[in-house]
């Protein structure tokens, strides 16, 4: 019964991803693009959790946890790269 509503929520979240994607394409400087990417990552994690709830497959949520940690590490590495200097 609640699956339909969750699908509508997912559709709206997809619009959010598209909006953040516009910022990734447009962003005048490199940090702007990273901000867009960070937002896309968060929305993707939430969408994975919602998918797991809709299909009742818990492994999707495990993937979301791992995705959250890996996207955090990738953000840190991109930030370190933009900063320049030694690793």
């Amino acid at each position: 019964m609640i699956e339909t509503e969750l699908f509508i929520v997912l559709l709206l979240l997809f619009i959010g991803i598209v909006i953040a994607g516009i910022r990734i394409l447009k962003g005048p400087t490199a940090p702007d693009r990273v901000v867009g990417l960070d937002t896309v990552n968060t929305i993707v994690i939430v969408s994975m959790v919602l998918f797991g709830a809709i299909y009742n497959v818990v492994i999707y949520i495990d993937v979301a946890i791992v995705y959250a940690l890996l996207s955090f590490i990738s953000t840190l590495f991109i930030a370190k790269y933009l900063e320049g200097g030694d690793f």
Partner: protein, 136 residues
Amino acid sequence: MIGTIINYIVYLFLVIGVFFTLLGGVGILRFPDVYTRLHAGTKCTTFGSIFLILSIVILGLKTWHLGDTDGSVLAIHSIIALIAILLTNPTGAHAIARAAHRSGVMPIDAVVDRLKEKNDKNQDRKKTEVDTLEDE
């Protein structure tokens, strides 16, 4: 009866979550520079995902209460995903802001910038030190 109330709470949480997540996206488009965009991108998506994931947790607890242990798995894993988001999101924003400032992207229309003043002062001091060394 209680089931309907729980359903309405879940709907309310879903609406709040979606509204703030989309607001984060719109904020990223509308604000003028990196730092203000980070405000929108970090705060709104974190708040939105708290509510979206909490609604899933409530759903999971409800299924658990009805006698299905799958619900407990759903709820606990969602809470761990929420903790991961809460820990990593502000730290990532801080890393991006610091990288942006060090790579030379300054805030637009800033009324005051103490960090830039401090860095300029350090640079001047280094320059004078180098000058005095060269003089000797």
